[in-house]
């Protein structure tokens, strides 16, 4: 259990320029997520949930404010630094299933470490061992060699969870991870997410607009029109 926060956002503002109009997606957002805390982020569509996750995970840069992840201030990172940061420090699970279609479950987990290609045999061995362990935990051991098309929606989302955990992240961002699943399966997946996070002591933000999911979280944060309210 680490005591330093996994995420600290202070006064974060994000605007999009669309034609002549400036859309404020996130405004004066302050959020601290503890080192092993699971936060449910709920709010209506268009309220800025995805934007918040993107900024916390280094997919987007804030227009204003400070973003510190796992002790690193990423507010002024270059896009190259952000690429490295995403690879080493955060995990993403997206709303839509987005595995690499021509890779097996196992290969989808290995894809990040292979894309870098550095580190040699030792690191590759570690990654392979970690993959086997994760697939086992996620109940996918017998599906390791299946392509995404041969898996059910729930299984695919579990592979995506495995991929997000491969790099031992400080923070995992789940953007509506269950929206493509029926409610029973969704419940299972969220429970799995909770167990995986708690086992590792890893912090997570789970975006949802399903109130039933929030009881798996340590805390619920609401967002509306880009403003966070506890």
């Amino acid at each position: 259990m680490s005591s330093s926060p996994a995420l600290r956002m202070e006064g974060v503002r994000k605007t999009y320029q669309v034609a002549d109009e400036e859309i404020v997606a996130l405004d004066r957002a302050d959020l601290v997520v503890g080192g092993d805390e699971i936060v449910a982020l709920i709010g209506p569509s268009g309220s800025g949930k995805t934007t918040l996750c993107s900024i916390a995970g280094g997919l987007l840069t804030a227009s204003q404010g400070t973003v510190v992840v796992g002790g690193n201030d990423i507010s002024d990172y270059t896009s190259r630094q952000l690429t490295d940061f995403r690879r080493t420090s955060v995990g993403f699970v997206f709303q839509s299933v987005n595995l690499v279609p021509f890779l097996t479950a196992r290969e989808n987990l290995l894809v990040v470490s292979e894309l870098v290609g550095r580190g040699g045999r030792r690191r590759r061995k570690d990654a392979v061992a970690r993959t086997a362990e994760l697939l086992d935990e996620l109940g996918l051991a017998d599906r390791a060699d299946n392509l995404p098309a041969q898996l059910s929606g729930g299984q695919r989302q579990r592979v995506a969870i495995g991929r997000a955990l491969m790099n031992g992240p400080d923070l995992v961002l789940f953007d509506e991870p269950t929206s493509a699943l029926d409610s029973q399966l969704g419940d299972q997946v969220v429970k799995l997410i909770r167990d995986e996070m708690k086992d590792r002591g890893t912090a997570a933000i789970i975006v949802t607009h399903d109130d039933r999911i929030t009881h798996y979280a340590d805390r619920t944060v609401r967002i509306e029109d880009g403003r966070i309210s506890a």
Binding site: Y16, L59, L82, T83, F92, N98, F102, L115, V116
Partner: protein, 369 residues
């Protein structure tokens, strides 16, 4: 890289069209190259077989063998030049030959009768006696064998073929190699106005110094010669430069087509992959890594096509009967063609670079920024 190779292996179907077109282009490229080398070879082989460094023409000949006349005095002057190690006269006569002993035969084969002193590669040091020649081996495919006689020119001057030599064609025709006396006699008989007397058309010179310096010394000393290095003289042979530039233009256009095919195909593929690239960037892949994957795929597909092209042109070379068409396969031509294809592939990929780099990682999560 590994990802790119896996995609090739798992989804070969998507690359089949591009690979097929590139294979056809590779075959065309190597066929054109082989044809060019074959044509140039059959125009110039007689020169390339010469045992010297320099060719001496008369000054007024405009570097043409048929227009050139070297007299005995000029020859003596050339021979006396410092740096000249050996010297030999060369004469040529382009003339139709009737194969076999029938003087009424209407079947004419284009030949060039050479008279020589310094033996070209593969020929006896001592030229065959008068009335006998060694023929280029392409004459074999006309059904001529050792001991047969061919009848040259309107006068049906008989020459007995006493042997064959490989790769000595000239001006696209079969060469016959005899002594200067044979050449003089046949020329005098068939071209009464142009009897060479005791002249030769050109001198082949072997030097023991820097060829260029000796060439300058020869021209300065004789005052009536134009001396070229063997390479320059070969390149100056009629039609060679034109053939080369025409073919090189066609080859260049073909390589450009390969470039366009790769560019279009991979531009299309990268558009299709926008979402995938977004995800991969989101999980930490750099644009450079993804582009390296595109280049890898292009190189593999093109390399495969080029390999089939190499195999195809070797096969063609094997099945083509010698002398049927001027087609010559050389390792350097094959290597050049493969390299050209690969360079075209890399250049073609460059058109997708911007698109690959521009994909936003945020597009994976739905907020393209």
């Amino acid at each position: 890289m590994r990802l790119a190779l896996r995609e090739l292996r798992r989804r070969p179907g998507r690359f089949v069209v591009a690979a097929s077109i590139l294979t056809l282009i590779a075959l065309l490229l190597m066929f054109l190259g082989g044809l060019l080398d074959g044509l140039i070879g059959s125009s110039t082989a007689a020169y390339r077989a010469q045992p010297g460094d320099l060719i001496v023409y008369s000054a007024s000949s405009r570097e043409s063998l048929v227009r050139s006349r070297i007299t005995a005095e000029t020859r003596a002057a050339v021979e006396a030049t410092a740096g000249v190690e050996a010297i030999g006269g060369l004469g040529s006569l382009q003339v139709g030959a009737r194969l076999g002993e029938d003087p009424g035969s209407r079947e004419l084969v284009g030949t060039v009768l050479f008279g020589y002193e310094l033996a070209p590669r593969g020929l006896p040091a001592e030229p065959p006696p008068t009335g006998e020649v060694v023929a280029d081996s392409s004459l074999r495919s006309e059904g001529v064998s050792v001991g047969d006689t061919v009848l040259l020119g309107p006068q049906r001057s008989p020459l007995r073929v006493t042997g064959f030599v490989d790769d000595t064609r000239y001006s696209g025709q079969v060469s016959l190699w005899g002594s200067l006396d044979t050449w003089r006699a046949v020329t005098a008989a068939n071209r009464p106005g142009q009897s060479p007397g005791d002249t030769v058309q050109a001198l082949v010179v072997r030097t023991d110094g820097a060829p260029a310096a000796v060439a300058a010394a020869i021209d300065a000393g004789s005052g009536s010669t134009a001396t070229l290095t063997l390479a320059a003289a070969t390149e100056a042979l009629p039609g060679v430069a034109q053939q080369r530039s025409t073919f090189n233009q066609i080859i260049g256009v073909t390589a450009l087509v390969a470039l366009v095919v790769v560019a279009l195909f991979f531009a299309l593929i990268t558009v299709e992959r926008t979402a995938l690239y977004g995800i991969l960037k989101a999980v930490g892949a750099s644009g450079a890594t993804l582009f390296a994957g595109v280049v890898t795929q292009a190189l593999v597909v093109t390399g495969l096509a080029a390999t089939i092209g190499v195999a195809g042109s070797l096969a063609l070379d094997a099945v083509l009967p010698a002398g049927a068409i001027p087609f010559e396969v050389t390792p350097s031509r094959l290597i050049t063609s493969v390299v050209l294809m690969l360079v075209a592939a890399i250049a073609g990929c460059a058109f997708s670079l911007r698109r690959v780099l521009r994909v936003e990682p945020a597009s994976a999560i739905g907020t393209a920024g």
